[in-house]
Amino acid sequence: MTTDLNFPGLRSGVELVPATDQPQTGKDFTSDQEVRWCPGCGDYAVLKAVQGFLPDLGLRRENIVFVSGIGCSSRFPYYLDTYGMHSIHGRAPSIATGIATAREDLSVWVVTGDGDALSIGGNHLIHALRRNVNMTILLFNNRIYGLTKGQYSPTSETGKITKSTPMGSLDHPFNPVSLALGAEGSFVARTIDSDRKHLTSVLSAAAAHRGTSFVEIYQNCPIFNDGAFDAIKNNDTKADAIIPLVQGEPIRFGVEGAKGLVRDTEGGGVKIVEVGTGPGQVAEDALLVHDARNPDPSTAFAISRLTDSGYLNQSPIGIFRQVDRPTYDDQARGQVAEAREAAPGDRSERLAALIGGGDTWTII
């Protein structure tokens, strides 16, 4: 599947990060550590894609930081030869917020999973999105707890039989894209571990976006949740399962583009129709044209609802939303810069004036 993700004109997420004049390859970003995921894990594909894509960014390696939480995917930073921190469960967005705010010259990445980001770290995720801190969050969604050996996660389908839910899980799952849109995410996308090309193109767009880029990556866990994305990955079914979102294009999918999206004037959302000229069918020019740049997130949210949170027989893939919004870190640094300009002079002298201020008296 090819996807055009051309969004010209926005301020880049990496424009303050020093570029390199040295040619780079994926090998430059490969650390000396042995990768220790299970054979067949979707994380390998994402790691390869990231290692292959980072040279394209053309940034100095020492100015890239990967931060992760806890979980299988959170081992990611160890395998990249950049700066990195494998932190504690759920807190990577807050640590990354400190890094990104303290330093404008770093490209900051968060690697997290469905348990890490949506369960224990849910609070930090939504607040990072709300603040729009300049970082890219890669959420590896395998819809299961892998590192703790197979309990259901906040994205597992209801009724899932696991070690901790022998009679079936009761929790209603999160739709990560809907959540990110609801949290005012300025860049919200979804891609698939097994589609290297799409994955790479979404990563490029995410890195280029200034603000918090949220990328949900469907990722298969062959040990504890194998086949969770079969409908989307199986050649026989994926044409009907994947709803590709391409900027400026009518949203159309299915075998030979037989299906498409239109606004649901009754329900207020969007609905799937058959494309064509026959009875009950909708003409192609009446289909909804995808516009991730729409300042109003309502349509993006409506599209996100097409993901069936149950067994995942159908899901939109691509960039749901990308809008320009001031970032927290730029503004925080801006306030510091403004204050410094307003109070020029030597820091030590100003400190002496500060602590010596107020009502004072002198004893000789």
């Binding site: 930081v65 930073p77 770093l106 602590i355």
Partner: protein
């Protein structure tokens, strides 16, 4: 100005201003304090207010008070019992009466002594009606006190009539009338308060003028009324040469953090979540961005410390400020900072616990949490200030340790230090320590087999031999790319290691690094003037004042006692063990159930005896003195009589 009025000399006075939460008692007390500071008295203050922002008006839980102790000599505490109570309503009178010694002066605003307000305060009858004829010692009776019933509110409203304020707004200036009256009574300079009011209400001319008028009217009332026949004078205290200001602990601590940034050349990054009584540090630091200070109000306590750790990783001085409940939430992240060996300042302004506890009251019961409140062997250095002004030095010291040793450091202040104030000699910048971040910029390891430069590597866990600190290599430094995290590190190269021997080594090494800090500490100062003491009193944190005052009482009565006060709780100073061994008895007064006692007993096998109070208030000097006296009696086999010092200060003072 005091024509016809007698002037009496006093060496010290304790005044407590008490009223409803909305009556402006904190402001009144603060202004009186500033006047006294400018006048040159030594002073210590104790604000005491409810956790509720506006508790139901006129009720006992809604009473807010501010105690100021000022003297013509060096004093250490806000005083055990007020000589003067200013009570703005029946609830304020009732709530504070129990703290007053016989003979204390009470100035009471009669205006709010209505049937309704009396009932709210739990009075069946107006206690002012019974003045003079109540049986001595009757509960709630006022016959033992010198009571001055004055219609402060009524006179205030009359005094500000010309400004055309509503009756409500006019009455609100009554605190300034009271301040004016007390300022006259003790001969305080008034200029700073008038300047303050002019600035504070610059944008509302009528309110400004009314407050100034009320303040002056209060002064004039004192001067002219027959009610007050005597004016008092407390001369300035002799103090070491220097320039002074009055400062609260939270302000001094915030300044200390800024100084930590300046003295290390690092930008300061504060990640914090609002919590009483620490929020004022966040407020203050947010005003000083011009020093390269970034303040981040996080979504929760964990995010606050997380962002601070991230900022430290990125090369800033990461700081997080909170109180005990926040420390509980941050524990896992502090453990991460222990493991990643990054500089981090964790400020705990302790309050009454457990759980939400007493948010606005003081306590020092987080020592063991600071010491041990993490999973695994996770040693964290602990520094504690001993007075409001000392919060400045303690913050700088905590920054020194954090940066030098690449470690999180706990700074244990408390509610009493945070909101209390004292005159502070403003330090010369040249006297402040400089802190060297010593960022790593070079590869630091060459495999033994190879000698070519190409083999050189960066090992993030290769240690400085003297401090055992690891290199701090910040992102952006070419060639030093490395990964750190919460998993156990292999010694040296820092890659993940599950090797049993390595884990044992790393656990011991992290402990050894913290222990190594003791090498950089100055010897303890033992205050034992006679050299004959057999009892040692040892404390930490804000109990310095009450312990010191208690020690003075014991010595004044002719007995020997030694005192030592700890700034470093982890590691302990190297000479502490020897000092403890020199004395027959060791007393440890604390505002907890014996946490330092436990540490001393465990570490030094010393029979530390606790004196413990957890009432949400500072220890009382007189009670500490009694506890010391008891031990002196046991140690020396003598009868101890402290009564030469038991004269109520009021008889001397008023």
């Amino acid at each position: 100005m005091q024509q016809g009025k007698q002037v009496k000399q006093l060496d010290r006075v304790i005044i407590r201003f008490a009223g409803d939460s909305g009556d402006g008692m904190q402001l009144t007390g603060d202004r009186f304090t500033q006047e006294s500071a400018v006048f040159g008295n030594d002073l210590v203050t104790l604000p005491n207010f409810p956790a509720e922002i506006r508790a139901p008006q006129g009720t006992l839980p809604g009473v807010s008070s501010f105690q100021v102790h000022f003297a013509d000599h060096d004093i250490l505490t806000a005083g055990d019992a007020p000589d003067v109570l200013v009570a703005m309503n029946p609830a304020a009178l009732r709530a504070n009466l129990g703290d007053l010694p016989k003979g204390a002066t009470i100035i009471v605003d009669t205006h709010d002594f209505t049937a309704r307000n009396l009932a709210k305060a739990g009075y069946d009858a107006n206690p002012l009606d019974a003045l003079g004829d109540a049986a001595p010692g009757a509960p709630g009776g006022l016959s033992e006190f010198a009571v001055h019933p004055v219609d402060l509110t009524g006179m205030t409203v009359e005094a500000v009539k010309e400004f055309g304020l509503s009756r409500k707004d006019a009455a609100r200036a009554k605190n300034m009338f009271a301040l004016g009256l007390l300022s006259w009574l003790y001969g305080r300079p008034t200029e700073s308060t008038i300047a303050f009011l002019e600035k504070r209400f610059a944008k509302v001319a009528d309110i400004r003028d009314a407050n100034i008028a009320a303040f002056k009217a209060g002064w004039n009332f004192g001067e002219t009324t027959e009610t007050f026949a005597v004016q008092y004078e407390v001369k300035p205290a002799p103090m070491a040469p220097g320039t002074y200001r009055n400062i609260t602990g939270n302000l001094a601590l915030a300044y200390g953090l800024i100084a930590g940034g300046v003295q290390s050349g690092l930008p300061v990054f504060l990640g914090s979540y609002p919590i009483t009584p620490a929020s004022d540090i966040l407020h203050e630091l947010s005003k000083h961005k011009s020093f390269g200070v970034t303040t981040f109000q996080a979504e929760d306590e964990i995010a606050g410390v997380g962002a601070a750790i991230g900022a430290s990783f990125a090369g800033a001085l990461g700081v997080t400020t909170t109180s005990g409940p926040g420390i509980a939430l941050k524990s896992e992240a502090i453990g991460l900072a222990v493991m990643t060996e990054l500089p981090l300042l964790v400020v705990d302004v302790q309050r009454g616990g457990p759980s939400t506890g007493l948010p606005t009251k003081t306590e020092q019961a987080d020592l063991l949490q600071a010491m041990f409140g993490r999973n695994g062997e996770a040693p964290v250095p602990i520094v504690a200030p001993q007075s409001p002004g000392d919060c400045f030095d303690a913050a700088l010291e905590a920054a020194r340790i954090a940066v030098t040793y690449r470690t999180p450091v706990m700074l244990l202040s408390d509610g009493y230090l945070a909101n209390g104030s004292e005159p502070w000699r403003i330090p010369e910048l040249a006297d402040l320590p400089t802190i060297d971040p010593a960022f790593a910029t070079e590869l630091n390891h060459r495999p033994e087999t190879g000698d070519s430069g190409d083999d050189a590597e960066f090992w993030p866990y290769l240690r400085d031999e003297e401090t055992l600190a690891r290199p701090w290599a910040v992102p952006g430094t070419p060639g030093l790319e490395h990964r750190i995290g919460g998993l156990e590190k292999a010694d040296g190269h820092g890659n993940i290691s599950y090797d049993p021997a390595n884990h044992d080594l790393m656990v011991r090494t992290r402990q050894a690094k913290v222990d190594r800090i003791a090498e950089s500490l100055p010897p303890l100062v033992v205050d034992d003037p006679s050299g004959e003491a057999r009892v040692l009193v040892i404390g930490w944190g804000s109990t310095y004042g009450p312990i010191g005052a208690g020690v003075r009482r014991v010595r004044k009565a002719g007995y020997h006692v030694a005192q030592v006060h700890l700034r470093h709780l982890n590691p302990f100073p190297k000479d502490l063990g020897d000092i403890l061994a020199r004395y027959d008895k060791v007393l440890v007064p604390e505002m907890n159930l014996g946490q330092l006692s436990m540490l001393l007993r465990a570490r030094y096998l010393v029979d530390a005896i606790g004196y413990n109070q957890v009432r949400g208030l500072p220890l009382k000097a007189v009670e500490v003195a009694e506890a010391i006296g008891e031990l002196v009696s046991q140690a020396e086999g003598i009868q101890v009589d402290l009564s030469t010092e038991s004269t109520p200060s009021t008889e001397k003072a008023l």
